[in-house]
Structure formats: structure tokens, C-alpha cells
Amino acid sequence: MTERPIRILVAVAAAAIFAFPIWFMVSSAFKAEPEVHAIPMHFLPHDFQGFAQFRLAAEIAPLWRYFLNSWIYAASHVGITVFFGALAGFGFAKYRFPGRTLLFLAVLSTIMVPFQVLVVPLFVEVKWFGWENSYAGLIIPGMMNAFGVFMMRQYASDLPDELIEAARVDGAGEFHIFLRIALPLLLPALASLAIIVFIWSWGNFLWPLVIVQDKDLNVLSVGMTSYSQPYQREPMWGAAMAASTVATLPIAALFVFFQRYFVKGLTAAAVKG
């Protein structure tokens, strides 16, 4: 293969171009403010600042509070979607009951509805419940994702019926069968689902933006907008890049440590339609 060196060259060039903004973000987070503005750009900080920009970012806005809220928001969505998604997926896959197909199609059809269609009526509904500007209003409306049911039903269908029958003959209750037999076998699929739901919820912007007014309730994605005024007189690009790095870190960690599930989850979520 004579074309190989060219292929490597093109690949490296493409990767460098696409990764450059990320490199700009991370390196700027460790520069002093004037150095972030330096043209030509410094590829590495000449005057390494340690975590000073991160501390500054936390002074400009309650960065760590945002970070914690994002964790509460994303973790509760992951836990609930994974557990109830698996439960419903198992139910749809392994039990026959009247209206099963119709109900499943109804659940499935909710995947196709873009959230922008729901945001106005959902806001009115949550206001009726008196949940606006609270953790309940922030977390509850999005805590279950129909994609989870869809994905889990597919994996649960592949579980051998004999296994479930055998457990039933041994006198195991239905919930026990789900918990002790189905759930452990679904574990790899659950990992992919957990990762994809975490990414979605961590980055979710629209709902937290409209439902929360209180600064202390803001998640990171909305809180990030406190740093997005880089053209003002007192620029704070370094702090903005530090906060950006903090907001990217959990996703990057998932990518580094669970790359296989990460890519599998993304692909599964894309092919759902």
C-alpha cells in the first residue's frame, strides 16, 4: 500500500484542525488574561497560571453550585431512565397484554416529537403544578426518556425465554425475575444507555433555561452564559475557558474510560428512528 503515508498525513491534518478549538479552550484556561488575547496565539501558556482562572470563574458566578446542580440533574435522569426504561422495556418484550403494541407505538412516537414543541405547553403545565423555579420543575419533566424504553425492549427481546420460564418454575416472583435475572444480563446495554442519557442531560439547555430563574438552581449549561460576554470592557476569556473546561470534563472522562459504550450509545441513539 503506497498511499499509506498520505492517508496518515491527511488524517493528522484533519484531526489537528478539528481539535484546535478544544486545545485553545484547555490551554487558555491556564493562561493569564492578556496571554489569552495574544496574537499570534501562544500554543502553550508562557506564564502558567495554575488554577487561578478556575478560581476567578468561581468568583464571577457560582461555578461549583452550577456543577453540582448539573450532576443532580443528569444523575437523576440517568438513574430513573435506566431503571424504569429497563423495567418497561422488559415488560414490553416479555409479557403479552391487551394494547401492548399500541402502547409501545405511543411511547415510541414520543421520540419523534422535538422538545421545542413541548417546551411551551410543558412550561404552562409545570406552572400549574407550582413547580416553576424549583428542582422538581427542573428535573421531573425530562427524567424519563422514551429512547430508553425503546432500546431496552430491543435488548430484552434477545433474552432467552427458557431462562425466565425456569426461574418461574422455581417459584421466583416476576419482579424478582426482572431484578435478579433480566437486569444483570442487560448490564452492557444499560451502560450504553446511561452514558447517552448523561450526555443529553448534561448538555441540555432549553428546559433549564426557561424553567429556572433562580441563580442557585441553574445548571452548568445555563450558567455558562454568565461567561459568554467576552466583548465587554473587562474581558474574562480565561475564566470563560476555565468554566468551559470544567463543563466538558465529565463527558471527556466518560469518553476516555468507557469509549466502547460511549460510541455504541451514540450510534444506537442515532439509529433509533
Binding site: P21, T110, V117, F123, V124, V149, Y231, L266
Partner: protein, 277 residues
């Protein structure tokens, strides 16, 4: 019953709001007085509404810019990284990095990079001796900047989808083609491409569905959301503006229904293509 919690939840927080939104789109509602039924007035008014027509035009342009280049370039990237070469995995992972930051972070990074005297001006304008490019303050450049930022994150994402499609092609087929002396271009044309039909349709549909819903970049990157001069005002932003700035819930719901219909049309076309196979 195991499905009950999920079904109950979706009924309350998906199906009900969907129907309620449809109802709201036929009313005038300001959150204070009860909704007033106005029939099709909201929809009729939209098509005489300058702001809506601008947003519709901007959205369609954005969809165009966020699908065609993404489709072609993500396919090229997938073909590039599909073959084994030294260091491929680490180079591919580096290329994939733009997928990681949440969209608001993408917006914040690019807001800094696209400063008129900033890094992008230095990298691109420097060649022609330009020291200032108004990426975001120009009504022609600003929407193009939004497309470029979007595509930057979308191309590596869709590369993964193409790679999954490529992985589904039997290796023997490709080896046989290579043994028969087919070059990479002919092999692609006769072996890979026919097998990638479903993936090609999926990438086209998904990228346009995502693009129809865009709003976060247009909200965060420009100095004013949708600016300058409404050149980056898209339908997703208009829903927010009517709903949560002017509290015209009926109009906001009507705009969202128009968005929904356009996305449904894309989905229909996708299903049609898939059925033909």
C-alpha cells in the same frame, strides 16, 4: 404491570403537553387570562409575520448548510479512518473531540475564537493581511459562522454513524474487490456505496432534523440572540422569543407546530427511502 410507570410518565409529560400545545396554537394565551380560542388565526398571521418569515428563511438556509457539507465531509472522514494505519485510534479520537463539549460550551469557545481581532481572524485573515473580520457583526457572515460552528461539531459525530455503516459491510466483499484489482474509488462505488444506502439516508435525515431544531448557538454566540439584524434568528429562537419574552404562548405554540410539521416531512421522506429497499 412493569410498563405502567413509564407509560404514565409519558402520558403526563409527553402526550398531554403535545396535545395541549396543539390546542394552545389555536388560542391567544398570555399566562394571565384564560386561553381564547381563535381558530387558525395564529397560523394565518404567521405567514404575514415578517419575523416568522425571516426565521423560516434563516432556518432553511441553516439546514442546507448543516446537511450537505456535513453529509459529504463526515463520509470522507469515515473513509479516511476506516482503513487501519499507524496511530489511527488516537488520531481518530482526536478528530472526535468536538463532539464532547455541550453545545453551550461550543458556543462560548467560538464566541471567543470569532472575536473580530481574535484567533480565527489571525488564522484565516492573516493570509491576506486582514487584522479584523466581523464574523458575528455582519448580517451575511454571522449566519455562515453559525453553520461553520455547527458543522465543526456535527462532522465528527456523523463520521461515527458512517463508520458503523461501513463496519456492517462483509469484509470478504471488500477483500474480493481488492483481489480483483479494484482501486479504492471503484471499490467504493460498487461495494461500499450500495451497502451504505440506509446509512446515507439516516445521516441526511438526522442531520436535517437536528438542524431544524437549532437555537443554542444562535442564542449564545451573537451579541444579541438572533442578531445582528435578525440574521441568525431561527425558528427555535422565535419559539423562545414569543413564548418567554412576549408571553404570546399561542403564537409560540403555532411556530413550534410549523417546526414539527417540517421535521415530520423529513421523517416521512426518510421512511419512504427506507421502504424502497
Amino acid at each position: 404491570m412493569f410498563v405502567l410507570p413509564a407509560v404514565g410518565f409519558f402520558a403526563a409529560f409527553n402526550v398531554f403537553p403535545m396535545l395541549f400545545g396543539l390546542y394552545l396554537s389555536f388560542t391567544d394565551y398570555d399566562l394571565l387570562n384564560p386561553p381564547l380560542w381563535v381558530g387558525f388565526d395564529n397560523f394565518v398571521n404567521l405567514f404575514a409575520d415578517r419575523l416568522f418569515l425571516t426565521a423560516l428563511h434563516n432556518t432553511l438556509m441553516f439546514v442546507l448548510g448543516a446537511t450537505l457539507p456535513v453529509w459529504a465531509l463526515s463520509l470522507l472522514a469515515a473513509l479516511l479512518f476506516d482503513q487501519a494505519f499507524r496511530g489511527r485510534d488516537i488520531i481518530k479520537a482526536t478528530f472526535f473531540l468536538p463532539v464532547l463539549p455541550p453545545v453551550v460550551v461550543v458556543a462560548v469557545i467560538w464566541r471567543v475564537l470569532l472575536h473580530p481581532n481574535g484567533v480565527m481572524t489571525w488564522l484565516i485573515g492573516g493570509r491576506w493581511g486582514l487584522t479584523e473580520i466581523r464574523w458575528l457583526a455582519d448580517a451575511v457572515l454571522a449566519p455562515l459562522s453559525m453553520i461553520a460552528v455547527h458543522d465543526w461539531a456535527a462532522i465528527p459525530f456523523f463520521m461515527v454513524i458512517w463508520l458503523a455503516g461501513l463496519a456492517g459491510i462483509p469484509a470478504e466483499l471488500r477483500e474480493a474487490a481488492a483481489l480483483d484489482g479494484a482501486g479504492p474509488v471503484r471499490s467504493f462505488w460498487y461495494i461500499e456505496l450500495p451497502h451504505l444506502r440506509a446509512t446515507a439516508v439516516l445521516v441526511a435525515a438526522l442531520s436535517s432534523i437536528n438542524a431544524f431544531q437549532t437555537f443554542a448557538l444562535q442564542y449564545v454566540i451573537p451579541t444579541d440572540p438572533g442578531g445582528p439584524a435578525n440574521s441568525t434568528l431561527v425558528l427555535g429562537l422565535l419559539v423562545l422569543k414569543y413564548g418567554f419574552q412576549y408571553f404570546r404562548m399561542g403564537d409560540a405554540a403555532a411556530v413550534s407546530m410549523v417546526m414539527f410539521v417540517m421535521i415530520l416531512i423529513v421523517t416521512m421522506i426518510q421512511l419512504r427511502f427506507n421502504r424502497r429497499d
